[in-house]
Structure formats: structure tokens, C-alpha cells
Assembly symmetry: C2
Homo-oligomer: 355 residues x 2
């Protein structure tokens, strides 16, 4: 999409949007801080962009003096290392394509400075994976401006780890990889979004405040101090990844839901085992957790699952047919029971046999 020339200043501009993803096998802990390589694989569901998304516009022009970025209306420091990583990697890929003789590479996007403007339609940094959608969108948009195609999850991973999973729709795994250079630490689609059309996601916003401990420093402290996190990454997650992929393939909601809840809880357990401890759940989160377990117990069937990222907001997974009822569980106050047969006291003013 090219804008008409205006007083000799050609402006190339592309706008893209990218989705949020919510992990059901959690990512927590890096083995390499700079390349953003995780200590375990993870798996997420990409949410539909109708509700939550990041929108990013990248413009480039010979008239721009420097790279600049605005996030949610406020100019931010473009020199921060993660932004620089993404810009450098995309420019590098673009240069490579041009030198390989690809005709469609826009030389302007490569040699000129860029202006980046990005907005989320949801609270930033409150455990709703805003950085995942943000970096996925940044990398995707930059790639379009600079004529880069192909595997880009390894680039967005260097902006924010979980951003690599937002490069695909549906059910996505981030394979941790083994190589030191991180070239094999990539996202991969497990199933497309059409695979399980009945699956529904509800986002319960408990708090839109910024989290007290950011994910980056939080997971760093956890890696340094939590013995349980090491055990989780080494000995628990590999088996859970297999189980989860199996559950997704089979559309086995019970297995999917229980493993999702267990893994969310275990992630928050390792936060608590961190020193000093990190708390992302609050009393409202806990009430949601208890409500879900009571609901499932009532039906003797796992119909609803919760998961919490690094914040108090609950994400609920359920199937289409359960959404309406579950949403109504958060019910009204006291009411008068009209049917006299429901009185607990009999006409003698004493408890009925069954009461």
C-alpha cells in the first residue's frame, strides 16, 4: 500500500493487526536472556482478533530522521534492546532477500527510517499477553514493509518470547529447541483455528492495573531461586506437552481443561516458590478458581477451565454450549421463593422431614 507522493516525500505505509494468545502449557523462565530461549516448550490458543488485538502501522520515508515508536499514543524509547533486536533481524532478512535477487523487496523500507505506531484494544501489561500481540504485530508489519516472507516466529520471539506463538492462528506450540543460537526455538501450528470450532474463550478482567512484577524480571528471579521451577521445566512439562497436543488433536475437552488448570496452578506455584515470592493471583482470582471447580463438581464433568497468566485476570475455556449458563453463574442477589412447596418449615412451624 503506497501513499501518493507528497512534495517529493514518498511515504510507504502498512497497517497490520495481530492476535493475543493464551498459553495452556505455560512459558516461564529463559535459558538465554538475550536471544529469549525458554527453559521449556509451551502451547497456546490464539484468540480471535474480533475481541483482543494489537494494531500496528509502520511507515517509512526518506524524510524520517530516525526510527521512532508510539505505543498507545505515547512515544517510547526506540533504543530498547528488544525493539532493536526485531528491527535488526527484519532488516537483516530483508537485505538477504535483496541480495538473493528477490524482486519485490522494497529498497526504501530497508534504507529509510521507520515510524511505528501501535495500539492495543485492551489493558497493557495486566497479564493479557499484550507484549505477545504487540511484538507479533510489530514483526509482521515490519516484514510486510520490508518485503520479508517466511518463518518469522524466531524474530518475534526476540521481542517477547510468547510473541512467537501469536504468529499463527489456532493451537500453537513453541518448541524450546536445543541450539545455542536459538535457530530451532520456533513456533509451530499444532492445529488450525478451524479444528475445534466449539471451543470458546472468555476473558474475565479482574484488574486492568499493571502487574507489580513484570514477566521479564519475575521469570529471571524464578529461574535463579525456585527449585520447583527447575523440576517443572525438566521433568513435568515434556510429558504435559505430549498430553496437551494429544488432547487438542482429539478435541478431548476434559483432558484439555484439566491439564490447562493444573498447568496454570503449577506456574503460579513456581512463582510462589520464587524468593522473594511473586503473586499474580488475588482473592478475586481465587474465587473464580473455586467457582470453576464447584461448577464442574456440580455437573460431575469438567465443563469449564481457567488459566491465569502473569496477572489476576482469568481466561476461561469452555465449549459453546456451556457459555451462556456459565456466564450466568455470577447470579443476582436474594430473591423470594414463590412456590409454597419449597418452604423448609411445615405448617406446624417445624422443619419438614427433608429439610
Amino acid at each position: 500500500i503506497k501513499m501518493p507522493e507528497d512534495s517529493g516525500k514518498k511515504l510507504t505505509m502498512v497497517t497490520c493487526s495481530a492476535p493475543v494468545n493464551i498459553a495452556v502449557i505455560k512459558y516461564w523462565g529463559k535459558r538465554d536472556e538475550e536471544l529469549i530461549l525458554p527453559i521449556n516448550s509451551s502451547l497456546s490458543v490464539t484468540l480471535h482478533q474480533d475481541q483482543l488485538k494489537t494494531t500496528t502501522t509502520v511507515a517509512c520515508s526518506r524524510s524520517f530522521q530516525e526510527d521512532r515508536i508510539w505505543l498507545n499514543g505515547k512515544e517510547e524509547d526506540i533504543t530498547q534492546p528488544r525493539l532493536q533486536s526485531c528491527l535488526r533481524e527484519i532488516r537483516c532478512l530483508s537485505r538477504k532477500r535483496r541480495s538473493d535477487g528477490e524482486a519485490d523487496v522494497d529498497a526504501a523500507g530497508l534504507s529509510h527510517k521507520v515510524h511505528i505506531c501501535s495500539v492495543n484494544n485492551f489493558p497493557t501489561a495486566a497479564g493479557l499477553a499484550s507484549s505477545a500481540a504487540g511484538y507479533a504485530c510489530l514483526v509482521y508489519t515490519l516484514s510486510r514493509v520490508m518485503g520479508v516472507e517466511g518463518e518469522l516466529s524466531a524474530v518475534s520471539r526476540q521481542g517477547s518470547g510468547s510473541a512467537c506463538r501469536s504468529m499463527y492462528g489456532g493451537f500453537v506450540q513453541w518448541i524450546m529447541g536445543q541450539q545455542e543460537d536459538g535457530k530451532d526455538s520456533l513456533a509451530q501450528q499444532v492445529e488450525p483455528e478451524t479444528h475445534w470450532p466449539e471451543l470458546r474463550v472468555l476473558v474475565l478482567v479482574v484488574s486492568a492495573e499493571r502487574k507489580p512484577v513484570g514477566s521479564t524480571s519475575g521469570m529471571q528471579t524464578s529461574v535463579e531461586t525456585s527449585i520447583l521451577l527447575k523440576h517443572r521445566a525438566d521433568s513435568v512439562v515434556p510429558a504435559r506437552m505430549k498430553e496437551m497436543i494429544e488432547a487438542v488433536h482429539k478435541r478431548d475437552f476434559t483432558a484439555f481443561a484439566e491439564l490447562t488448570m493444573k498447568d496454570s496452578n503449577q506456574f503460579h506455584a513456581t512463582c510462589l516458590d520464587t524468593y522473594p515470592p511473586i503473586f499474580y493471583l488475588n482473592d478475586v482470582s481465587r474465587r473464580v478458581i473455586n467457582l470453576v471447580h464447584r461448577y464442574n463438581r456440580h455437573y460431575r464433568e469438567t465443563k469449564v477451565a481457567y488459566t491465569f497468566d502473569a496477572g489476576p485476570n482469568a481466561v476461561i475455556y469452555t465449549l459453546q454450549q456451556n457459555v451462556e449458563e456459565f456466564v450466568q453463574v455470577a447470579g443476582p442477589g436474594p430473591r423470594v421463593v414463590e412456590d409454597p412447596s419449597e418452604h423448609l418449615l411445615g405448617s406446624d412451624g417445624l422443619p419438614k422431614e427433608s429439610a
Copy 2:
């Protein structure tokens, strides 16, 4: 202590009191439910009885028709298995002593029924180790009535696991033992109460309500479902026991305090890793935890430690010289700063250079 004879009905009555203990290396999980054998060793500090204690009176008389028990003013079911275990074990030891020809064994206490009356001077079942003090006191009092002496921690353990640690003052370890019959699962004093006279314990009662999930069923579910608990018991606690005993021997408050906090957090982490998850900490508990870490960070020294049992109430360990200040940290509201040099705005109404 024998009461005067009254119309031919001799009443033997003994009253004892027993202390609460607060674990610094936590007990959570049994390998044998009936004998109450733990999956890991633990270590606690016995609190002085001036503040928290259980008081128990045991009477026995030929006129009593059956064994009976009153807890905090309410008659309870004497047939519950754990009470029966304690009664049976003490009577068995008493019988053994009598058949060994010990002169001081009171035949009455052995052949007659007992009435047991017990009161706590603190909230019951709110994570303040009421059952520990309760069963320790019961076993101790019964033993006095029935003329039993010697090692009794293996008996009180069969009432409530952590009760074995309340049979001694000071710093007490409960050695998990290896035998199937539990004969080697005993409490042992690590250091007497005189060893570390500067150590202080503050109990912050956040809630006096009964806990939603009792310890017995909670730890059962944890053993069945938490992968992290198994790892903790097998691979983490053995080293921590050694470190903690070392810290107590040396009166090394920093080591003692940090390990205490880490072990409390890890215990609650395994509760969260349980399925369905168990929560004992609430938002107030979390504020106490954050306060302690901020306080220590302020002084760049670990001056205060927290620990939480199966409830939201905080137990604070600190040294005598820090008590007054720490208690005052919970400070007053806003106040006027009188010194004009502390104004943040200068006489021009603009921020001062330093503000």
C-alpha cells in the same frame, strides 16, 4: 493430684497444659494415614505457653460409664479414630509398665473410664496448630493419669502428626523415620528453649475463621495430585533440614529466617499445585509477606521472617531488638510535614532540582 473421696466415688484428676509449635520446615503429606507417618522430616519452634496454649483436664473414676471428651466447651465424639489411637496407646503403655512391676502405676486410671476436657486460649483450626497443642496435651495428661513415662511423641503423633513436636520445648525436629510400624518416626529436641533467648515470635491473626480445607484432607489431596510435593519431599527437604539445624545451632538468624520464608512459600506452592488447588494465604497474608520483604530490603539485612501454616495467619520470627520497630511499621495515616526545606516545590512554585 487426687481429689478427696466423695460418697465412695474416688476421682483422680490431672490438669496439664501444652504449647503450640510453628514449623519452619513444613510437614505436609503422609505416607501412612493411620499411623500418621510423614513423607518428609520437619522442624519447629515451640512457642512459650504464656500466650498460646491448650489446657486439658483428665479425670477418671469408677463411676464413669464411658470415655467422654469436651473440646472448648462442646462434647465431641470420643470414638473418632485418632482419639481412640491415643487412648489405646497410652493404656497399652500403662499396662506394660504395670506388668513390668512399676509401683507408681495407678490401676484406677487404667481400668476406669476417663472424662477429658480441653480448651485452647486461641482460635481453633485456623492454621495456628491447635491440633498439635491439643493432642500433645491430651497424651501428656493421659500419661500422667495412667502413670506412663518416657518417649511419648510417637503416641501424640498418632493423634495429629505435628503434635509430636509439641512434646518438647525449644527447637524440635520430627524425624520422618523409615520403619513401616512408625516406631522410628519421633520428635527430638534439637536445642532447648534457652539456646536462643533473643528469638521472638509474633502471631498476626488475620482471620480466626476455620480454614476451608482441613490439613488432613488437604495433604491427602496434595500427596495424590501434586508432582511438586513429591519432588519437595524427596529432593528438597533433606538438605533443608540439615541447613536449618545448622542455622539453629549457630543462632544464624539470616540463614534461619531466609530458609523459614522459602520453606513456607514452597509449602503453599505445593498446595497451589494440588488439584483442585488449595489456598491458605489471602490478600492480607500477601501484604504481610510483601511488608516483610520490603522491611528487610530497606535495611539490606534479613531482620524479620514470616511463616504461614494451613491458614492465613502470619507467624513472624525476629530478634528481640527488632520487635518494637517492626510492630510499628504498620503506621499511622497522612501527616503534615513541618520542615519547609522538605517542600518539593520551590518558592517559584516549580519542582525543586532534586524533586
